[in-house]
Symmetry: C2
């Protein structure tokens, strides 16, 4: 039993250069769940400084802030998503879902002969 | 005037592991035009041994040969595509074209609010 041929997509958004992809999306998803960039970076086995630079670069290119720094409170200082970051994340995730579905449908159509083998 | 936000896709085909993508497709396209794997590798600034290994690995996973070795003749020995390789290449290229078109349409639909800014 071998795995049948199937498509694998990497979906990134660019302006002049790359500014959003699955890495940033995962990081934002973790920030949203853990209310901390440090915890989010850890969950992805990524250095905090790398996560910080990645988001900062992304903010510069997109032209809006992604994180709100929350100080004090129960979590003793953390981060949460700006409304724009949340909209961007949800739009990207929905876009990826729809595009992956389209890619499967087109694949079955185009590669029919190769899948029959 | 800045470049507007736009999607960039990388489209690869896997079985258990990666077996076909834009690199192999380009290489096959060059072989088809230049009738030589050595010339094709050169055109892509790739070592001949790397190009050879790449295609061999791809043949193993796909389960059919990609190149026909042509010996002698005007070009003094070279390579051309098997019918299966040609079908695979054309199917992959058509699939990529259709998928990129779908990705643009879905992008305009989903990211309308971000593009208006």
């Amino acid at each position: 039993m071998t795995t049948p041929l199937h498509p694998v997509l990497s979906i990134r958004l660019f302006r002049e250069e790359k500014c959003f992809g699955s890495g940033v999306a995962q990081l934002l998803r973790h920030v949203d769940e853990q209310h901390s960039l440090r915890a989010a970076a850890q969950a992805m086995d990524m250095a905090y400084s790398k996560a910080w630079t990645m988001l900062r670069r992304c903010e510069e290119i997109l032209g809006f802030p992604l994180l709100i720094r929350t100080t004090g409170g129960r979590h003793g200082g953390g981060a949460s998503l700006t409304p724009e970051a949340r909209a961007m994340l949800e739009t990207y995730e929905r876009y990826c879902r729809r595009l992956r579905q389209a890619s499967e449908e087109l694949f079955r159509e185009e590669f029919r002969d190769f899948l029959a083998e």
